[in-house]
């Protein structure tokens, strides 16, 4: 989908989340994990915004903050122009009708002691939307929508395969007719053939129900497939965000470039040397000075060690946080069409 009219549905401003680590018998704060360390971006109505990054980059924390499941240390999250942080507990609870989530692991995200009917119907009961026959009807409609069958209503989660459990999770998220759904690694735990089923289902639902997705994942192919725009996170910060084709054909941040190039392409004819970035991802407890990526960056200078690069719009709708963005370089990580047989 091309975002033609850009209605902002959510906006994140200077968002930070620090977790205190306390050790020892007397509780005192020893250090902080800077899980999310200053994020700024907008989510447009009806789009899918992909957020990618490796472990410890803070993408899941970002998702939980945007759902109001965690309180931000600093900054603001606006949903339809209202700051989540300023809402009362009760207002936040009601806002959850509009902000829903699909979890990664369909094995652990469904209460093992509830039947499918209870699981899908619960949001409706909690918000007093339906009961009795009406509840049952709505549950059946939802099951139908995600491709579950009527006779499965009285079963427990452990009787289902991973893909079917994820359908239950999706139906539960859809029950309140939300506007925004955060998909937190929603397909990462699924087998390839099942992953395709769920990705197709998510796309279909988005069209039918006019949903906005925030699709958080580490699997780049799936993100590329479903997203309209993609943001790349590294150590609690957004390093780059752009349209999905733009980011794959013309990544500007050296980290994005290496990350995208690392993805093994399922075609032996395209075997190549990967652009390797050295070393390990540093710990978010003690991130490097200046640009957090500088110890691993092939282009880093003294300047990068000292000064944190500003996250700015370099090209229209293309944001990057780097002192030396790869603007005039050929950074296309994708094989050109002529490479293919």
């Amino acid at each position: 989908m091309n975002v033609i009219e850009k209605n902002i549905i959510m906006e994140v401003e200077d968002l930070k989340k620090h977790f205190d680590i306390s050790k020892g018998f007397i509780k005192k704060v020893n250090s902080k994990v800077r899980a999310v360390d200053g994020l700024n971006f907008q989510v447009y109505k009806g789009e899918t915004l992909g957020i990618v990054g490796e472990s410890g980059c803070g993408k899941s924390t970002t998702g939980q903050l945007m759902l109001g499941l965690l309180d931000a240390t600093e900054g603001h999250i606006y949903f339809q122009d209202r700051d989540l942080a300023e809402m009362t507990q009760e207002e936040l609870r009601l806002a959850r009708r509009d902000l829903q989530v699909i979890f990664q692991d369909p094995y652990s995200s469904l209460n093992p002691r509830m039947t499918v009917e209870e699981l899908i119907g619960e949001p409706l009961i909690v918000h007093g939307i339906a009961k009795g026959e009406e509840l049952k009807k709505q549950v059946l409609d939802l099951m139908n929508l995600v491709g579950l069958q009527k006779h499965q209503m009285t079963r427990f989660p452990h009787e289902f395969s991973g893909g079917q459990r994820q359908r239950i999770g999706i139906a539960r998220a859809l029950a309140l007719k939300p506007k925004v759904i955060v998909c937190d690694e929603a397909v990462s735990a699924l087998d390839v053939s099942i992953q395709a089923q769920i990705l197709n289902l998510l796309k279909k639902l988005q069209k039918e129900l006019d949903l906005t997705y925030i699709f958080i994942a580490h699997g780049l192919p799936a993100v590329r497939h479903i997203s309209d725009r993609i943001g790349v996170m590294y150590l609690g910060k957004m390093v780059e965000m752009a349209d999905r084709d733009e980011i794959f054909h013309h990544p500007l941040h050296p980290y994005t470039h290496a990350l995208l190039d690392s993805v093994p392409i399922p075609d032996p004819r395209l075997r190549k040397e990967h652009l390797l970035i050295e070393g390990e991802i540093p710990s978010p407890t003690n991130p490097p000075s200046g640009c957090a990526f500088h110890p691993r960056c092939p282009f880093a200078t003294e300047h990068c060690k000292k000064v944190t690069p500003e996250y700015r719009e370099i090209l229209p709708e293309h944001y990057v946080a780097c002192h030396y963005p790869l603007v005039d370089k050929d950074t296309d990580v994708l094989p050109h069409s002529s490479d293919k047989a």
Binding site: S55, S193, A196, Q197, L220, P264, I265, P266, P268, I277
Partner: protein, 320 residues
């Protein structure tokens, strides 16, 4: 013609459960040549991991090989005593696991664990083993190898642990290396490092490798030859280029079409309907039939044999 290092014929593995035996590997045959990298591809429940555990002789207590032949260098592995098997394991055949954290012993340091194998199989002194251990860590690209020898597994990152696992697996110059989802638990930039390492090892040594994975990307990066497994059976076998250019079995084709590709975005992904059948309730005839776009009544009657259409390309389907 290079000689076959490993030959597996009609391997069948079953597990004892409360409801009787459940067979998860149902007549798997394949061979691995000297210096070759064979990939076994399949989704959960395909029997790919069980196959590797079976040939390592480390099936869980309730599992057993109940039929078939496993020949490694003219030795029938099924008739070996436990002691003889131990000599082969870790020495001539070694294994890398998906999650190195659980495969490494948390209470011993890296040096101890590396030395243990060497002392056990080569009768080295502690000093010799230590030297060889450091050498191995350097081979797999670990900086400050002598310091890492004194570390414990939890003090290393996932990528480092996987390197240590590889160093341990290679320390006895095995003839066959089995890698079970070696990069699945790793971040993508770390995965690229490990894949490159494995490719370099392959170029330098003459070790044969079996890579077990669900990721066709990893297969395309490393394998010479591929077997595709579904519901405990081999459904297709082909050299790597042949398989990607000319996949025959509807499952192989479906699997390839289901992966979202970074370089070729489609609006809707092809998807294989349904789910993998439960091993206690397998369909009769072709096991893929209930999910197959080509399946018809004929497929329910015949259990298709694995048929070679050329010297090295085989498929288990009567429709193609």
């Amino acid at each position: 013609m290079t000689k076959n290092l490993l030959e597996i014929e009609d391997l069948k593995v079953r597990f004892k459960t409360e409801d009787g035996y459940i067979s998860t590997v149902n007549g798997v045959s394949f061979s691995v040549k000297q210096g070759e990298t064979l990939a076994i591809v399949g989704e959960s429940g395909s029997g790919k991991s069980v196959t590797s555990l079976a040939l390592m002789g480390i099936l869980p207590a309730n599992g057993e090989i109940y039929d078939g032949k496993v020949t490694f260098e003219d030795k029938n592995l099924r008739t070996l005593s436990k002691k003889e098997y131990r000599k082969i394991r870790g020495n001539e055949i070694s294994m890398i696991f998906q999650e190195p954290m659980t495969a490494l012993n948390p209470v011993f340091n890296i040096g101890y664990q590396l030395r243990e194998t060497l002392i056990l199989h080569y009768d080295m002194t502690k000093e010799q083993a230590n030297k060889k251990g450091i050498e191995m860590l350097e081979t797999v690209g670990i900086p400050d190898a002598d310091k890492v020898m004194g570390r414990f597994p939890h003090q290393l990152s996932g990528g480092m642990r996987q390197r240590v696992m590889i160093a341990m697996a290679l320390s006895c110059n095995p003839k066959l290396l089995i890698a079970d989802e070696p990069t699945t638990a790793l971040d993508v930039t770390i995965q690229a490092q490990i894949l490159t390492l494995m490719r370099n090892i392959k170029e330098k040594s003459n070790t044969s490798t079996i890579i077990i994975t669900h990721d066709l990307g990893v297969v395309a990066e490393l394998a010479d030859r591929v077997i595709v497994m579904y519901a405990g059976e081999v459904v297709e076998e082909a050299p790597i280029y042949e398989l990607f250019e000319n996949p025959l079995h509807p499952y192989t084709k479906g699997l390839m079409a289901s992966i979202p590709k970074v370089h070729d975005v489609v609006d809707e992904l092809y998807s294989i309907e349904g789910t993998v059948p439960n091993p206690s309730n397998m369909p009769s005839g072709c096991k893929f039939y209930p999910r197959c776009p080509l399946g018809n009544i004929e497929c329910t009657k015949i259990h298709p044999p694995l048929e070679y259409i050329s010297a090295d390309h085989a498929k288990r389907c009567i429709k193609v």
